[in-house]
Amino acid sequence: MSTQAEAAPVRRRWSRQARHQMIYGWAFALPFFLLFLLVFAAPIISSIRSSLFKMQSTGGGLFGGGERVEVFAGLENFIVAATNTSFWGGIGRVMLFGVFQIPVMIGIALGLALLLDSFLVRRPGTWRLLYFLPYAIPGLIAAIVWGYLYVPQISPFADAFGTSGGQPFFLAPGIILASMANMTTWTFTGYNMLIFLAALQAIPGDLYEAARIDGASGLQITAKIKIPLVRGAALLAVLLSIIGTIQLFNEPTVMQTLASWMGNDYTPMMMAYNTMMGQMTPSGAGPASAVSILMAMVAGVLAVIYALAQRKAD
């Protein structure tokens, strides 16, 4: 709002109409800015603030006198989180997860979208809905359903896989990431397919027509027109997936109830949650906020790297 006040005197020679337009423009944008501040900026500012503080007992004695005060901790919470090997261990796990899971999921999603966009499939609307359906199931419920498929005593097939390292096959330390990748792929492939499908349907039909007149086959149209034109959508889908992967939480949390060896810091998001819930040391809102912010920074860096690499490739 200060920009509005400052902008006026600088450009003195504004017509009456231009000034009116400016006021209307800001007026229309105001609800957005208010909501933006309320639901987006405020929580971020509050968690940044909270990450700089920690609770300390002050009363002395074995129980700190039952009183605690919030003391300014500077960057201590960040230093503690950034030097914690289990934080980076968690980041390593989700990155390993992403390196394999994202390409597979994006590949399948693109394939399905191309299939539905071609004229090979009857009733594409029905198929589109069916592929999208897993995404409509709440993530936690989906994770529980898959969890049941992985537990030998209940699962129709897990028994056949035996054990690995003293744990049921699907819940064993070397396998569990793949088990979770399977769950996420099942849930999010349909969602990413929709992103691609929307991009495909936005391609002007003239291009196909021109290509056909030039004698291009269906495969050539797919490879030379459709796929290059959905690059933007692919960028979006991969970026969303990278961020989602860094924040992996539902799947490992459900799996933890089945595989108690996982610990409370298996993924960075679990670490943030359990720090907040006092289930880890250090605990409390300050350290938890620091972990979350650090995690957001890692996700941001990865997203920028990917976007730059993509731009260079273009």
Binding site: A27, S57, L62, G64, R68, N264, M276, G278, T281
Partner: protein
């Protein structure tokens, strides 16, 4: 169209948006400060106030089928005490989530007056400044309760009254034991020998429960006579990996190494499956498990064959340790602590009703064995056995603030021990390290020596 109405509409739109934002903020920001000091001073003078007051009570009792529900018990109180009206709310979720909810509510001046807290959580809540010191009120009711009364006191301040206790006991299938020709083990050596005999026939008299490691293994360590946390020169002394803990560690290590115990998580489907198919014929359990542990057997041939016995003796004397149990504490910001404690005392002495919830009441008056237990345990006077266990509780075993951060590390180590990639002793060294870290993180004095 003139410009004026348009502008008017914009302004109206703006105002309504701003109002929306303001009300959204106002919801949180209202300084709800009911000046508790003034009202409670007035109220404590008379325990039966002349004006009706409201007391909120949050619990996480099961309220299952066939139980006397909390609402029914509280309803009786409300009918008898028109001026002290209690509103009970059941919290559906994990204990830790209830703690977080209480903390958030109390810090927003919006907390309940009475809340169910696990004994291991009491010191933590006190340190966070979320409980109220009601020692004077509690002293009036002290004689109504057994040894668990001390579990609700933190550094000399009593914050509430105990509700139930969870001494570790041993549960076993008597018929199967007879068929195998083994006796109920009374000490660690007998236990290992019996376990090996049973395992040779494909039966297991014990299950190593990694997911319950926190209270289950610390309780067994307490049963061996260990005291994990004590005060030395006004600082905490942590002794989780003591010789007594190692007795328990070696006991389980031998059972695991000789494959004489199962390694299913307590809350896994594998556990229930082993119970139902008769592979698992005995288990070290918390007293509160008696209320529901055998439910899956009701329709099987094993119904009515199980019995309750004391925990095998790990130390010099028959002793057991605590695995759970909770009390009802008065929370900070409660306007009517005296009336709340009056209800607290009444509620927690309704032993028959509490027993119907599957609890082993902490009240001094013993409850009769509920009919359901009697049926499931072949007519045994289960409650008498549990009362004995209660008396044998290690009275010196107490918890530190931050114990909830210790458990997950124990579970992790126990799961590794169950899978064979770690040792049971690691569970206790993990507890030692995690305890010291938790105390330091809370800014409390620790003596390391």
């Amino acid at each position: 169209m003139s410009v004026f109405p348009k502008r008017l509409m914009t302004v109206a739109g703006l105002l309504s948006a701003a109002a929306l934002g303001l009300t959204a903020c106002g919801g949180d920001a209202t300084p709800a400060d009911p000046t508790p000091a003034a009202s409670s001073a007035e109220a404590t003078s008379a325990e039966t106030p002349s004006e009706p007051i409201d007391i909120e009570y949050m619990h996480r009792l099961p309220d299952g089928e066939g139980m006397t529900t909390v609402a029914e018990i509280v309803g009786r109180w409300n009918a008898e005490n028109p001026n002290i009206q209690v509103k009970a709310t059941k919290f559906d979720g994990k204990a830790q989530e209830m703690i977080t909810k209480l903390e958030t509510d109390i810090n927003a001046n919006n907390g309940v007056c009475l809340a169910q807290l696990g004994y291991a959580e009491v010191p933590e809540m006190f340190v966070k400044g979320l409980t109220m010191d009601v020692t004077a009120e509690a002293e009036k009711y002290k004689d109504n309760f057994g040894g668990a009364y001390g579990q609700m006191s933190v550094g000399g301040a009593v914050v509430g009254l105990p509700q139930d206790s969870g001494p570790l006991i041993y549960m076993y299938n008597e018929t199967e034991f007879k068929a195998l020709g083994i006796e109920v083990p009374t000490n660690a050596e007998e236990f290992v020998a019996a376990a090996k005999t049973a395992a040779a026939k494909g039966k297991y008299i014990a299950d190593f429960e990694a997911d319950e490691a926190q209270n289950w293994l610390s309780g067994q360590s307490a049963g061996a006579g260990a005291v994990w946390y004590s005060a030395v020169d006004d600082a905490w002394k942590v002794d989780a990996a003591s010789d007594q803990s190692m007795v328990v560690a070696n006991f389980w290590q031998e059972l695991l190494d000789s494959k004489a115990a199962l390694t299913h998580d307590r809350w896994s489907d594998a556990y229930t499956a082993a119970l139902v198919d008769g592979t698992l014929i005995g288990n070290i359990a918390a007293a509160w498990e008696v209320g529901f542990a055998l439910d899956p057997l009701d329709t099987t041939a094993y119904a009515g064959q199980w019995r309750v016995a004391q925990l095998p003796q790990f130390g010099d004397a028959p002793m057991t340790g605590p695995d759970g149990g909770s009390g009802v504490a008065v929370m900070k910001g409660c306007e009517y602590p005296a009336q709340a404690m009056k209800f607290n005392n009444w509620f927690n002495t309704q032993v028959e009703d509490l027993a119907s919830q599957g609890l082993v009441p902490a009240a001094a008056e013993a409850a009769a064995t509920p009919e359901k237990w009697s049926t499931q345990f072949g007519g045994q006077d289960v409650m008498a056995e549990l009362v004995t266990a209660n008396k044998n509780l290690n009275a010196d075993f107490a918890y530190i603030p931050g114990f909830s951060a210790v458990g997950p590390k124990m579970t992790e180590a126990a799961a590794a021990a169950a899978a064979g990639s770690g040792k049971v002793a690691d569970v206790f060294t993990a507890a030692q390290d995690a305890s010291i870290a938790a105390l330091k993180d809370a800014g409390l004095p620790v003596s390391e020596g």
